[in-house]
């Protein structure tokens, strides 16, 4: 623990680090969370006005697929953590591998979600069926767009990692993309129980 002692102040306290990644991404993350947060609250109050419709429709959702997608997204976030850890020790190859793994899981999330949508569309359910399905389809598709956007961001970082653009000393971009990906995970952590579980 001697190395730690060198960084501590006289109170034995480590200095706070800067936010991981670009400060601008954190403003963007807060803005996105605000938009989703308002939608979550609107959903909850809309439900309060149509309890029976919401409860009956919610029971038709595939909770197994919702849970599978939660596990997929959490695991992809973990892979991104490992990627950031790898570039911090200058292992760009390993960092890129973890990110490719996270992207593969992102693709799995999209496939599972489209499968789920297909089940609903095949049963004749659309945005206009009732308010519950309108919220369910809108919230989950909007979130899906963010998964897609996150995958594009991670793809750009993989390209730059392979190009040798990031090192242990300079990996700001990796942390910026990682923060966005974790936000996508964070939003799903609320969306999943809200829309699939609690009634």
């Amino acid at each position: 623990m001697n190395t730690n002692a060198a960084l501590m102040n006289e109170d034995g306290v480590l200095p706070a680090e800067d936010l991981p990644g670009d400060f601008a991404i954190w403003i963007f993350i807060l803005a996105e969370m605000l938009v989703f947060g308002v939608m979550f609250i609107v959903y909850a109050f809309a439900r309060a006005h149509q309890l029976e419709v919401f409860n009956a429709s919610q029971l038709t959702l595939n909770r197994g697929l919702g849970t599978l997608n939660t596990i997929i997204l959490i695991t992809s976030s973990y892979f991104v953590v490992r990627s950031v850890a790898a570039i911090k020790v200058n292992d760009a190859r390993q960092s890129a591998r973890w990110l490719l793994g996270a992207m593969a899981l992102g693709a799995m999330f999209i496939v599972v979600k489209l499968w789920e949508f297909n089940e609903k569309f095949s049963a004749g359910i659309t945005l206009e069926t009732n308010d519950f399905y309108m919220y369910y389809l809108t919230l989950t598709s909007f979130h899906l767009m963010h998964v897609l956007m996150g995958m594009i961001i991670l793809g750009c970082i993989v390209f730059k990692l392979r190009n040798g653009d990031y090192t242990a000393a300079e990996h700001f971009g990796v942390e910026t993309g990682a923060s966005f990906w974790h936000m996508v995970d964070l939003l799903w952590i609320i969306l999943f129980p809200l829309v699939y579980i609690i009634h």
Partner: protein, 100 residues
């Protein structure tokens, strides 16, 4: 006191390897909490206490992701406060809507 560094805790700046193992443990806890949420959704006849428990699980998962995956554990308390506040406000409003 937030940045006190007791033995057994790892700081990513200093010890990269241990934080990997630590993040694996966080991942395992997150998976277990997800399975618990699923089990509640499948088995339990829901009431207010169950609804609040599921929201509490989401709160814990959110804190674990923000602090250990996003790395907010080591930045200014303000950012941890914002994320925690977000979960409290959104979760609280959802709970109010369900209790109405």
């Amino acid at each position: 006191m937030d940045h006190t560094f007791p033995t057994g805790l790892y700081h990513p700046l200093i010890m990269n390897k241990p934080i990997n193992h630590f993040s694996t443990r966080i991942w395992l806890v997150l998976i277990m909490l997800t399975m618990l949420t699923f089990a509640i959704g499948e088995e339990v006849a829901q009431g207010k206490a169950v609804m609040l428990s599921v929201l509490a699980i989401a709160f814990i998962k959110g804190q674990l992701i923000a602090n250990y995956f996003m790395g907010l554990r080591y930045v200014s308390w303000l950012w941890r406060g914002i994320i925690m506040g977000y979960f409290v406000v959104v979760g609280g409003m959802v709970a109010i809507a369900y209790l109405l």
